[in-house]
């Protein structure tokens, strides 16, 4: 086993469907082939896909729970203090009618209502938000999948729980959810370096700019992989140059790549050349940024 500096890389993109998962699965595959012990965390809890590309043995599965209040109507005086404390409007109350109801979907599990209640009328119960599944794949490599239940409003807790399971791992690749809101922030906050995957189109560029701005305010280093190069226009190259953002790799548009990926196959397994390229990208990143400041 090759010893390597601790390194956490997030693979992200503002726009969906640019090839984040293609890059994450291919990079993870290339590391496995090099016998580098790596962990791939699928942080796209709304639509986790990574495990459809790999064979693995389920080692551990844990429910991610959240506490929601249950009101004991025998003790409740309908004073309304819990309603006032709730910043999410999750408690509905009609004092004169003696009606009180918890909207579980809106509850964030902050516990404020329990603190508010002076009559001991609120107890808490656990509800499931999703699962964190851990799979052993070849060697000592591991895949940790976050999977939010359908109908749950926010994937953030499930994502956090999945990332926390990778705390003691040295080389961690995180496949981030798309966008620049909370789920993205929670993922990249734990990375030493962020690879932004984009495509050379006006939509791709617009979303890339937003991701870059967000990472800047967070003080995160990033580089860009352009997928489907050759499709679209070249405005993106000027942008990267002006911003001084490293262009790590270009993956040309190729129907064969699209077809390989569509079958749920790892592109780097079919295109050996991509393995070599991704490994050299990885080595450059590790050399420059590998020290895992953000490991808690």
């Amino acid at each position: 086993m090759i010893s390597i500096k601790p390194m956490r890389i997030a693979i992200a993109s503002g726009k969906g469907g640019t090839g984040k998962t293609l890059v994450a699965t291919s990079l993870f595959y290339a590391l496995q082939r090099e016998r580098i012990e790596a962990t791939l965390v699928d942080c796209d809890a709304e639509e986790p896909n990574v495990m459809s590309f790999f064979q693995g043995q389920l080692e551990k599965s844990a429910e991610v729970m959240q506490r929601v209040p249950v009101i004991d109507e025998n003790k409740c005086t309908y004073c309304g203090k819990c309603h006032e404390y709730c910043n999410y409007k999750a408690i509905f109350i009609l004092t004169p009618m003696k009606v009180i109801k918890v909207m579980e979907d809106l509850c964030h599990g902050c516990g404020a209502c329990t603190v508010a209640c002076e009559y001991g009328a609120i107890v808490e119960k656990d509800v499931s938000l999703g699962q964190v599944n851990q799979y052993a794949v070849s060697g000592n490599s591991k895949i940790i999948e976050s999977r939010m239940n359908v109908g749950v409003y926010s994937p953030v807790r499930v994502i956090k729980a999945a990332i926390n399971e990778s705390n003691d791992r040295r080389v961690v690749i995180m496949d981030s959810p798309p966008g620049t809101s909370c789920p993205f922030i929670q993922t990249v906050a734990r990375a030493d370096f962020v690879i932004l995957v984009t495509e050379p189109t006006p939509f791709g560029l617009s979303d890339l700019k937003q991701s870059v701005e967000t990472l800047k305010t967070m003080g995160k280093s990033c580089g860009v992989i352009i997928n489907r190069a050759g499709l679209g226009n070249d405005a993106i190259y000027g942008y990267l140059h002006d911003q001084g953002i490293p262009l790590l790799l270009e993956i040309p548009f190729d129907r064969e790549i699209a077809s390989t990926y569509s079958k749920g196959k790892i592109v780097a397994a079919e295109k050996r050349h991509l393995q070599t390229l991704l490994l050299s990208v990885f080595n450059i990143i590790v050399k420059k940024y590998g020290n895992s400041h953000h490991q808690r």
Binding site: E47, S52, G111, V150, G151, S181, N233, A258
Partner: protein, 289 residues
Amino acid sequence: MEIAIISGKGGTGKSSISAAFATLSGQPVVLADCDVDAANLHILFAPTHEEDQVYIAGQTAVIDYSICTHCGICMDYCQFDAIHSMDGKITISETSCDGCHLCARVCPHGAITMVDNDKSRMYSGAFRNGRMVYGRLAPGEENSGKLVNMVRDKAKAIAKDYNLENIIIDGPPGIGCAVISSITGTNHVVVVTEPTLSGLHDLKRALEIVEKFSLKAWVIINKYDLNDDMSRQIEQHCHDRGIPLAGKLPFNPSVVEAMVNLKSIIEWQPQSEFSRQIGAIWNTITQSK
């Protein structure tokens, strides 16, 4: 009529199809870009800037260090792991804070205040085929579902004011709160998918959410010819589930060409077979009973 276009998986061509639906000839529409995390349609349509509105995405707790005694009580109550003590100093992580207000309430010294997250906006104006509303969530902000509701309410008000019949909602990817907010109460939900294993997997979860809210679902398989076998599997899945296929569209590099030229495919190649197919899909959906 409100028609929402969503996708589960990102990058399936949802926004390109929304743009096409919004520019079919002879029918001005209200276009609501509800992908507030990565709103893009204003790039194509450059709407006039007639109105903007601040959206308060939530709150963040801030400590006044001239009052704080670093007693750590707030830390014991925080359920979001947002408050930490480092070398005896209490800090609140802006990225982890959920804005629940509990720390400010329990602080015995009144050292914590809640500050509004007020960087998100909603814009509205005219575009070349009607009116447009779009939201932009500031990076890192939450509650995008509420901003989506605000965009939809505005779109409905505009539809009434301008007497426009159809509202086209370009939804976000995923299946979380912003998606739920984009589809609830709409007349039709069109799920755009692509013939990949990930596409099928995400489609299933997207359909589950549509069914959960008992809405009328349609499926479009975009770029169907990139993998005919997978397209057949998707068709079979829709058939087994009783979800109608609104149509299949081939992979077409002109769609990207149109985007680069800041046009929808309907505007770029109005006479093409591809544009005709999109028109036919629109009719299938809107003329159904």
